[in-house]
Symmetry: C2
Subunit: 198 residues, 2 copies
DNA sequence: AGCCGAGTATGACTGAAGTCATATAGCCAC
DNA sequence: GTGGCTATATGACTTCAGTCATACTCGGCT
């Protein structure tokens, strides 16, 4: 989980560091994409809200990660909103300065290719799970993927609540809770004082 | 829907044109990504199969479109299989030659950024739909998106069967058929001798 | 210690999409 | 024109996750 663009470089190209309070929006679904964003500290989620208030979380972003670039690269309105899960500080760079940076740093440009590809992998995986697999399978696939990207070898404590897991897999909290309990019984994962470990 | 890499350029960098019969696989889920592929004629789908034989279609690719690049960019095994829907001819370029081409043609490299971004847009949209919206809404969103990318203004005849729509939205044929009929009755779309138009 | 709120847990009931069976329509080959 | 295949269509029944209600657990705060 290293930095996609080094902080000095972001600043060199005119990036500003902005502070956001927990639960505030950085941008809203439907608005124009005018800036590049990169998390310095805290946590941000990209999320869709359905009319009845139900959330779908497209992804979480922590220190060093960028978010909201696809609308810049391909010029379409934000398909989801960016909300801070915690008090966060975020680098903000205008679209033009971002492209300027890319044109001068081929290795960074290439990194974005890789980054977008990995996101496609994630979305494709979840899509396949949601479309054709039962809850336990969905959840286990997500958890295994998280483990493999954070800590492939050591035991891994899932840093998300049941509600967040539900919002990432298109399930309800109750279903996640029930599925997780069942998988604990069958030994597919462990629960240590309410935290899921795997 | 233009060509992502001009044919002459593909050939110049050592690309070979390969013929595939309808329903044959170009590569299988789980195998290593060693080549870049670009459709010259015919149609290819990227698809996941669940144990019980249920299909999920990640995308369709026609003349001029490339497929299967994310595993090359980010180095992971194919997360789905590429199957020809029709007799097809496909350009095939080794991974190394593909990267060579990219390094020498910045404008092409940039195009891939854009391409990956648009695919993320599509997958994010479908993901949101599948996770939190009822069948009619899911289908209509997909159809509207297809229309907007193929023929935003003129009336558009959907080039897919009910089964294919089902496999793209995580629904069953019967559900798609029922939903489409219902939407015809409510005037949200039209059916002209079994073809959906919008 | 006691309170509060967020997160986890569990049961009873419901309903919408899936499943299965069967029918019909259109199209191509011979 | 007939036969066979693929796609569309429709009804009856079932099932699994969603909904709703309610309770419990834990950690932080005063």
């Amino acid at each position: 989980m290293d930095m996609i663009i080094p902080e000095e470089m972001v600043l060199e190209f005119g990036g500003k560091l902005i502070q956001y309070k927990k639960n505030t929006a950085i941008f809203d679904q439907g608005s124009q994409a005018l800036h590049y964003y990169q998390v310095k500290s805290g946590e941000v989620k990209m999320v869709n809200y359905s009319p009845d208030g139900q959330e779908f979380i497209q992804g979480f972003f922590q220190a060093g990660q960028s978010f909201g670039e696809p609308p810049i690269f391909a010029d379409f309105p934000y398909p989801a909103s960016a909300i801070c899960c915690q008090d966060s500080s975020v680098f903000k760079l205008t679209r033009d300065h971002f492209f300027d940076l890319l044109s001068k740093h081929f290795e960074i440009h290439k990194k974005f290719n890789e980054l977008l590809s990995r996101r496609l992998q994630y979305k494709g995986m979840i899509l396949n799970e949601i479309s054709s697999h039962p809850p336990e399978h969905r959840i286990l696939t997500l958890l295994t993927f998280l483990k493999s990207s954070f800590s492939p070898d050591a035991e891994f404590e899932i840093p998300y609540t049941r509600q967040q897991i539900a919002d990432m897999t298109g399930l309800r909290v109750e279903t996640v809770i029930r599925s997780v309990r069942k998988m604990e019984q069958s030994g597919e994962l462990a629960i240590k004082n309410h935290k899921i470990t795997i």
